[in-house]
Assembly symmetry: C2
């Protein structure tokens, strides 16, 4: 760190990197626990598939939320490590199943498990990780934590099923979209931050604020992801621009554009989304239409409003250095766009 | 019942039917709870897929084991209904995922969900049912029950993954086979009977006996299923003779025949199982070889030994009419063969 002061360092790195630094010791314990629990005495396929995904350089954002909220609320025990590993296992299990459902071939810039092994392995190893996460949370002995994570698991699966039917249907509106992303993304963020407060013995109001922070952060995060799909680069998100368009997923930018469509635009959306008749140049045309109706900037404004809600929720919590980083993390989620 | 005495009735119907009669009220409550909890406010696809499978005339054997063991041990509360529904949801979720993994087209004599809808729906609705089962067991408030069912879930998934790699490999021996079927079948039977005892407040020795009964019954049940695959009829098991052979699954009859194979037979097994080169007449030839080495009768003897273990375990439990039916149920499992 020669010649670089702490404050300069703090500005140069992202809030997520700062969380990694502050929580380095806890995260090392989480990573040890993950490696230990993804082992299988009898089925070596399990750690192979899991390691491929878990060691692919994911940023461990969700487990860090659990560690950060638990520490911020003064937790001094060991169970936050178990819960952080639980959250990462649930996340990894959903990624394995998502890649089967979406027939994806790349994730985090690498071939997906369903491509390297097969769909069978992805389905069953995902099931195994769900079960392992369940064992870990039982070890905490907290029925309240189990209740929160059971509800989150059901909401995640429900959101994924809803997305199956909502995609490719131009009637999908912003209300349905919000339900889908609450399920597929925000439910786990909200559970991750809520259980951090619960094991720390935070008050009901504090737990509610933590949950609201996680929910709003998760919604903003997913809206930004969906925006990036129409304009990010490979380097940023590790997937190609236009994937959602090609898969005919009704995400927020498209929903906003469809709501304002002229008759001609409507015919275009019906052809490319509902009838799946996509031709060369259609993605470019879609992006021109999105621009015309300010669909990207409108989506970004929505994401910013959710970031504001996330930060407002934090104001109901005690002042703490981790609270500041979590606040900056919310801002950073939207900064990924520019 | 005109003209038919109770004892004549008892002989005419199977032990499973008798369980249904004795537990009719409890099972009605389980079925109500299942219908209530498979609903989804937002995603109508979920109850559609679930109903297809759950209302297809499955015999509800696993939930009846939970009800029967809880009642036998004197339980007078309501939670056995929740646990029975939990067990049926876990079973249904694994069926949905199994059919994706096996690329099955028929189950219980009807088209599978993956065929009627798609693999995506089967994967995600399976995940939803796992999550719902998890919510139900949390409602019982028993950490011990949660521990048992979390371990069972992990063992089930591990057994399924092990089967992926053990199938199609002639080195798979009886030890590996036992591990696979303990996972894919016996783990849920054992958990179903164990939790029945746990919520009833049975002693440690009684709970261990209940668990051993479920484990041995499940193993016998799966061995018989694997035997039926080489000789049952559609009417009995709802799938076609030789499915395992065509899918190159190393089940007990085949493992026993491979262990005694002549050089010529070994070459045959290598061709049809390992190299997947199957021709007309190969199934018939396989069945001749199984016969030659008494592989079916040997497997049947193994199943009978497990039935004896199941019945012996029951002897450690108090005398009760349900105990007698459970004992007859164990015998009945093997009688399905003849």
């Amino acid at each position: 760190m020669d010649g670089v002061g702490d404050s300069a360092l703090n500005k140069a790195i992202t809030p997520q990197d700062r969380l990694s630094v502050v929580l380095a010791e806890d995260m090392a314990a989480v990573n040890r626990l993950i490696r230990e629990r993804m082992a299988s005495e009898h089925a070596p396929r399990i750690p192979e598939v899991t390691a491929h995904l878990i060691e692919a350089g994911g940023k461990r954002l969700r487990p860090m939320l659990t560690l950060a909220t638990a520490r911020m609320m003064g937790y001094a025990g060991e169970d936050h490590v178990k819960l952080a590993a639980t959250v990462e296992f649930i996340h990894t299990a959903t990624l394995l199943h998502d890649d089967v459902v979406d027939e994806s071939h790349r994730r985090r810039g690498r071939p997906t498990a369903n491509l390297l092994w097969d769909n069978k392995s992805s389905v069953l190893v995902g099931d195994y990780l769900f079960a392992r996460s369940f064992q870990l949370m039982v070890e905490t002995g907290s029925l309240r934590v189990l209740d929160i994570l059971a509800d989150a698991s059901a909401t995640i699966a429900e959101g994924e099923v809803l997305q199956l039917t909502a995609a490719q249907d131009l009637r999908t509106d912003e209300g349905v979209y919000l339900q889908v992303i609450r399920g597929k993304t925000a439910a786990l963020f909200a559970a991750a931050t809520e259980v951090g407060g619960v094991i720390a013995g935070a008050s009901a109001a504090e737990v509610a604020a933590l949950r609201e922070y996680g929910d709003a952060l998760g919604i903003a995060f997913q809206i930004v992801d969906d925006i990036l799909d129409y304009g990010g680069s490979d380097a940023i998100i590790g997937k190609n621009t236009g994937d959602d368009f090609r898969e005919r997923k009704l995400t927020l930018p498209l929903i906003k554009a469809v709501a304002k469509a002229s008759a001609e635009e409507r015919a275009f959306w019906e052809r490319v989304i509902e009838r799946s008749d996509q031709r060369d140049g259609d993605l470019a045309r879609a992006m021109v239409i999105l621009q015309r109706h300010s669909a990207i900037s409108g989506s970004r404004a929505d994401a910013e409003a959710w970031v504001d809600r996330a930060k407002a929720a934090l104001n109901n919590l005690p002042v703490h250095p981790l609270r500041e980083i979590l606040s900056e993390l919310a801002d950073y989620v939207v900064r990924r766009i520019s």
